[in-house]
């Protein structure tokens, strides 16, 4: 349970990190808090030739509200969010998600950018940030681009990162005062990988809803216009209108053949809807 040998670099700044990535022949991995990559290295599932440790880069540890959104550097940890060391524009939604990721010892090192980059379908941020309408800012030596979180996670463990590109920041839009948030997950054991995640952001005032069904075996199901799940319209009575058959059909379409699995996902999503409406 020891990693295969690797070379190790601690670049002085983001550009130096990007240069190392660009110069590598592909067998290079970025490490931040290491809470996802560390286990894979120890199990020798991943055997990179070079590890580039970005955990010290101050430019990735910023958190600031800019206009109508919160910009979180990739190295902000789950505990930073849980404890309120970063501003919160989601009216507590992100703090609650953060507080229930794995265990405190993991949250003290695990980062939001690392979690997204790892793109594990069972990870909380993959689903929660998609529901919140967040975007990911990616950087290479050549420049930057921004993707919606749901476009960034393209499959299990498969982020939309190009060679030489890393997650620089996460942009979280301010949650409107009229919106309702619900987040639920089912884990076989507290802190373990979720087997189902449901996230809903409903705003009856402007009749909109985003719904995410996560922790399936591939990228989460993200419904940016979720009226269909609520009988065709979003109104104050959306809790009563939530249609489990539509959710079940979405899961079947996504390839979840096992009815029991679909039932777990639908039940967890329903819990999230009830929480939002509570």
């Amino acid at each position: 349970m020891k990693p295969a040998p690797f070379a190790y670099e601690r670049p002085r700044d983001l550009d130096a990190a990007l240069s190392l990535l660009a110069a590598s022949r592909g067998s290079t991995k970025i490490i931040a808090g290491g809470q996802s990559l560390g286990p894979m290295l120890n199990l020798r599932l991943v055997q990179p030739e070079l590890i580039v440790d970005i955990s010290g880069l101050a430019e990735l540890k910023l958190a600031q509200v800019s206009g109508n959104e919160l910009v979180l550097g990739a190295l902000v940890t789950h505990a930073d969010i849980e404890d309120g060391r970063t501003a919160d524009v989601t009216r507590g939604a992100m703090r609650n998600v953060a507080a229930n990721i794995a265990y405190r010892a993991v949250r003290n090192r695990g980062t939001i950018g690392g979690s997204l980059s790892h793109a594990d379908p069972a990870a909380d941020w993959v689903s929660a940030l998609a529901a919140l309408g967040a975007r990911v800012k990616l950087r290479t030596l050549a420049g930057a681009r921004t993707l919606a979180v749901e476009a960034f996670v393209v499959g299990a463990l498969e982020p939309a990162l190009h060679v030489g590109e890393i997650v620089e920041a996460i942009h979280v839009p301010t949650r409107t005062a009229s919106s309702h948030w619900g987040y639920a997950k089912s884990c076989r054991k507290t802190g373990e990988f979720a087997r189902a995640i449901g996230a809903v952001l409903v705003d009856p005032a402007d009749a909109s809803a985003r719904v995410v069904i996560g922790a399936i075996d591939t990228a989460p199901i993200v419904v940016t216009d979720a009226r269909e799940l609520f009988g065709g319209q979003i109104a104050a009575d959306y809790k009563q209108r939530f249609d489990v058959r539509v959710a079940d059909a979405l899961l079947a379409k996504a390839g979840i053949d096992d009815a029991a699995q679909r039932h777990i996902h639908v039940s967890v999503l329903k819990r999230a809807v009830l929480e939002a409406a509570a």
């Binding site: 286990p39 599932l45 902000v76 010892a105 499959g155």
Partner: protein
Amino acid sequence: MNTIALQINRRAVEASAEPRTSLADFVRDRLDLTGTHLGCEHGVCGACTVLLDGVPARSCITYAAACQGADVTTIEGLDDDEVTTELRAAFTREHALQCGYCTPGMLVSARDLVLRLPDADEQRIRVGLSGNLCRCTGYVGIVRAVQSVIEARRARNIAPLADGGRTILGPAGSGRAAPGGSEPRPARTVSAPAPDSVARGIIPDFTPATVLDQSFTLAHPLAKVFAMFDDIAGVASCLPGVSLTGIPSSERVEGEFRVRLGPISAAFQGAARVERDPATLSGRILGIGTDQRSHSATQGEIRYRLLPLEGGAATVVELSIGYTLTGLLAQVGRPGLVRDLAKRLVAEFAANLDRHMSGASSGRAAPAELSFRSVASDVLRARLARMFSRVTGKSGAE
């Protein structure tokens, strides 16, 4: 080897370690601080929990090199700590340990809860300790011990510290290291001798651990489809990630199967044998392969059966793909991700067969489409056949 300088238990320490050395191995093997225990070594059991810049962290998945300049406190450094002293007395009183293996990590996590939790709520304590596994006590005594210390301290008007006293952003232990790195390592050369059974020309039967069924229709007559399945090189060219080495015979082919799931990749080398039964218009391709780098092995089989449709003008292909994975890649507890990859590979195989039969080049779908599948670039280059099943198995997990 790197020289790592950091503060351990309030003492400046300098010692050398490889980049891959965990903080746990560093304190145990280089500094003889063996109170930090290693259980699972992948961040699950909590036995290795230490304080890093004053807050709990897993020392088994934190590399010593990443802790340059950090402030580490192991269980040995908590002898005179006020909270830990109270916890030790409470653990003794409540019979909160038996074998003691989890206790160092348990005390570090318990100390953190005592500092942070507002009150001695049993549910919150249990959730807070869920990252520390104990196989002796059933947790009852541990929870009681933690409750009693929290109650006593709150009764003495010692307020909780919800953030554990941390004020800066970023991973605990990071931020005080100067830039630097290790000597580059020479590129690893991996020799890949064929597995014994393959070398001996034996491809054994097996019972697949996972079986995926898929059926699809090809707009070609039965006889033409059956003939196509006899063209090993052609079938192989439709298998994502497969490339043949040497010249396939009608009974035996050798080659390589590459597969990738996120950062996990493997290249299984091996051989396959081919069986077919014209009487039932069915057949089987059975293969075995090993990935030297991960010391993993896979066996796989593709069973097919052809059925006429529309009076023989079209053909239904019933595929049953089974695989078994053993070795390092098999130990990861995320079979769902592997199954999902296998499903996508099977779907791609079916689509490729269809294209191949229709006379299109046996190339894959457009790169843009592939790029959002897990199969990606390795697959694009790949051509030939080999055990499809091994393809599926290889992705490992998590």
